[in-house]
């Protein structure tokens, strides 16, 4: 009995040695393994589109595993990078047409890749409806982001609010680093002009989003 136990422990130890004591790789090794996968495992109609998989510095800083906290330095860097990314429309006018903005906010299409083809449209949808409550009583809306119902009623439509709203859509990480909100202008999903229409949709008193309930 005793001898058998000894034999088994030798067998067990040898097995562990043979297996090289398999265990979790460290974060640097994991990163190497996973990034190699990303480089090899996707296809796109053009090499330029494959570049979508490459992370910029802010995306790297914002990819925290299992709710790991963003360091203060990391957050400061994301804010700095995000502030620097913000561009304004050539016209200088930050408030566009709320009717165009309304359509954009309810448009979730554009720029997807399927069957070796890019979903090419004149312009991308704004995606807002996917995650935000919009006009009062609108049912088919998501809740990943905060409700935008009455956005302008609560904040008014001053120049300062227009600028803040524009910047938060262009790159929300300048205000809440690493939030779930896509940096719609900074990643070029939307153009500066499209964002001005969304600003109008949010703050114009005539916009359905500001209809009194």
């Amino acid at each position: 009995m005793r001898k058998a136990g000894w034999v088994w422990s030798v067998v067990g130890a040898s097995a562990l040695v043979a297996a090289g004591c398999a265990t979790y790789p460290d974060p640097a090794a994991t990163r190497g393994i996973a990034e190699k996968m990303v480089r090899e495992d996707f296809t796109a109609p053009s090499p330029g589109l494959l570049k979508r998989l490459e992370q910029d510095k802010a995306q790297q800083l914002c990819s925290k595993i299992g709710g790991a906290a963003l360091t203060q330095e990391g957050a400061a860097e994301v804010v700095k990078l995000s502030r620097a990314s913000i561009q304004y429309p050539a016209s200088g006018k930050l408030v566009g047409d709320w009717k165009v903005g309304n359509k954009l906010a309810h448009d979730g299409a554009g720029d997807r890749i399927q069957g070796g083809r890019l979903e090419k449209r004149k312009e991308n949808g704004g995606l807002c409806q996917n995650c935000h409550a919009l006009a009062p009583g609108e049912v088919n809306v998501g809740n990943v982001g905060p409700s935008l119902t009455g956005y302008g009623l609560q904040r008014g439509n001053s120049e300062a609010i227009a600028k803040l709203t524009y910047e938060r859509i262009f790159n929300g990480w300048a205000f809440v680093p690493c939030s779930n909100m896509p940096r719609l202008g900074a990643t070029r999903h939307l153009t500066p002009e499209q964002i001005t229409h969304l600003v109008a949709f949010l703050i114009d008193p005539q916009s359905p989003i500001n209809r009194k309930q």
């Binding site: 393994i33 996968m37 996707f42 990819s63 890749i113 399927q114 088919n140 998501g142 909100m181």
Partner: protein, 271 residues
């Protein structure tokens, strides 16, 4: 245009809503939940199981072989409980494989099918008869029905794959800045009306790990985990995920390990 789309959306919604989201995720106050449950009890995906079984035993491909010699980790042709322990390391290919990539391997090596041909047909068109791979994956998984998901990490490549999957689940990229975690990390979230499962909720991750392949109401076909992952990357505006790629296997490994202990019941039933 928006009016047309709104009208169409309303019609689609009225039509599809009763088939709804994962029954477990349905919010309790949701008046449609009862209808969803009733329809799920009469799952059309059941029809795919018999077809998968026939395909498994039939001599097919350039080599005229069945899949009875395919080893899913329990020995050649042993399907009982095989899906429950996948993904796992296979020494003959020195890789970690999930159910679908192992199936693909056998269709190529045993039956002589061309890999590209199988991959091209693996994900069927909506409202079609479905693909052989979809039927086979469902049949093989159904042989683990009632068993617990039990993916163990032993080989170094299994540890590496699990950790890579965890990393990829949190890796933000592309013009939407999304990783999986942006939509699947919080409780009671929706994209439009679609409930999102939350990886931190044991009930939700259990359902993810135990209900694929599933009949997808909106597509009228059986869908697999490989399709689910592909479709998420599509919506994230990222390039196309290769069928059976290491990235897909890593994500599947991460999800299955997190869902260990869940009782397998396929076909699942999805929106």
């Amino acid at each position: 245009m928006p009016k047309t789309r709104g009208g169409l959306a309303a019609i689609l919604l009225g039509f599809l809503a009763p088939w709804g989201a994962l029954p477990l995720l349905a919010q309790s106050e949701d008046p449609l939940a009862v209808g969803r449950r009733m329809l799920a009890e009469d799952n059309p995906g059941e029809l795919w199981i018999e077809r998968g079984k026939a395909l498994f035993h039939q001599k097919r491909g350039p080599r005229g072989a069945s899949l009875e010699q395919c080893d899913f980790g329990m020995g050649p042709g042993k399907l009982e409980g095989a899906a429950a322990q996948l993904p796992r390391y296979f020494s003959d290919v020195d890789r970690v494989l999930d159910l679908e990539s192992r199936l693909l391997h056998c269709m190529v090596e045993l039956q002589g099918f061309k890999r590209d041909d199988v991959v091209r047909r693996a994900i069927s068109r909506p409202a079609s008869d479905g693909s052989d791979v979809e039927a086979l994956a469902l049949y093989i998984t159904s042989r683990s029905n009632g068993m617990k998901v039990n993916v163990t990490l032993r080989h170094q490549k299994e540890y590496d794959t699990f950790k890579a999957g965890e990393y990829l689940f949190h890796r933000r990229a592309g013009q939407t800045d999304f990783a999986c975690i942006q939509c699947h990390g919080e409780a009671a979230k929706r994209i439009r009306l679609q409930d999102l499962w939350n990886i931190n909720d044991p009930k939700h991750i259990a359902e993810v790990a135990s209900t694929w392949p599933a009949y997808r109401g909106a597509h009228f076909v059986v869908r697999t985990m490989q399709w689910r992952l592909y479709d998420c990357f599509w919506q994230m505006r990222l390039p196309e995920l290769k069928y059976g790629s290491d990235t897909s296997i890593a994500l599947a490994t991460y999800l299955q390990v997190r869902g260990n202990g869940a009782l397998i019941q396929v076909p699942g039933f999805k929106r």
